[in-house]
């Protein structure tokens, strides 16, 4: 069975600092990986996805993530965060064509 673990429930960071949000997954088969962002009182919005090919995936708003098959990880990174990046971030995994399983979420709080 698939599962997703987001290792940090909350990540406080100062503006313009780099940030990494960690995600590990468990699956015995090939997977698709996604990062979604949720701003307060809104639905989820896709940041980026990995389906195949290059392990470094670039998304919107300057975010990127690296697929590491040996470590079963898909960590999200941004070199310099803004106040507007404050939100909840969800990692998700699906077996090709299967159900999308979400992690518990990481609350990113960017302070001035």
């Amino acid at each position: 069975a698939q599962s997703v673990t987001q290792l940090d429930s909350q990540v406080p960071v100062f503006e313009e600092a780099p940030v990494e949000l960690r995600c590990n997954y468990s699956s015995s088969v090939s997977v698709y990986l996604f990062w979604y962002v949720q701003y307060p009182n809104q639905g989820l919005q896709l940041l980026l996805k990995y389906l195949s090919g290059s392990t470094l995936v670039k998304g919107i708003n300057g975010f990127e993530a690296e697929f590491n098959k040996s470590q079963t990880s898909f960590h999200l990174r941004k070199p310099s965060v803004h106040i507007s990046d404050t939100a909840e971030y969800f990692c998700a995994v699906s077996h090709q064509g299967g159900k999308l399983i979400f992690g518990q979420g990481t609350e990113l709080s960017v302070k001035p």
Binding site: L46, G98, K99
Partner: protein
């Protein structure tokens, strides 16, 4: 393109009452999903439709929850009777094709059961 529309945005009911949520997906999206997001948790899939057929409802509490997608467009999710633990945000999402296509989410309906 217009996004996924959901209504109402907020609903407060007493336990044992019934409630219904409505979702209109993005035009042309064949797959529609209902997720339940309890405070502090990630979304959990309740039911997935492909056109007007159910693909996955394995986590839908069928004794109290029901959903339909007549004509393969709009969808309604109903809870009857509601319990306190049903308090959550109910998110509707749609995708062009299940699997590789990203999910587009509505803003959700926040349900409070008192």
């Amino acid at each position: 393109e217009a996004g996924v529309a959901q209504s109402p945005r907020y609903k407060i009911i007493e336990k044992r009452q019934s409630v219904a949520f409505w979702c209109n997906p993005i035009s042309g999206h064949a797959t529609l999903y209902w997720y339940q997001q309890i405070l502090g948790q990630g979304p959990k899939l309740l039911i997935q439709f492909q056109n007007n057929g159910v693909v996955d409802d394995s986590q839908l509490p069928k004794d109290r929850f029901s959903a339909e997608r007549l004509k393969g467009v709009d969808s309604t999710l109903k809870i009857q009777p509601a319990k306190l633990e049903d308090s959550a945000v109910y998110l509707c999402a749609s995708s062009f094709r299940h699997g590789q296509s990203p999910l587009h989410f509505g803003n959700g309906t926040r349900l409070t059961v008192t």
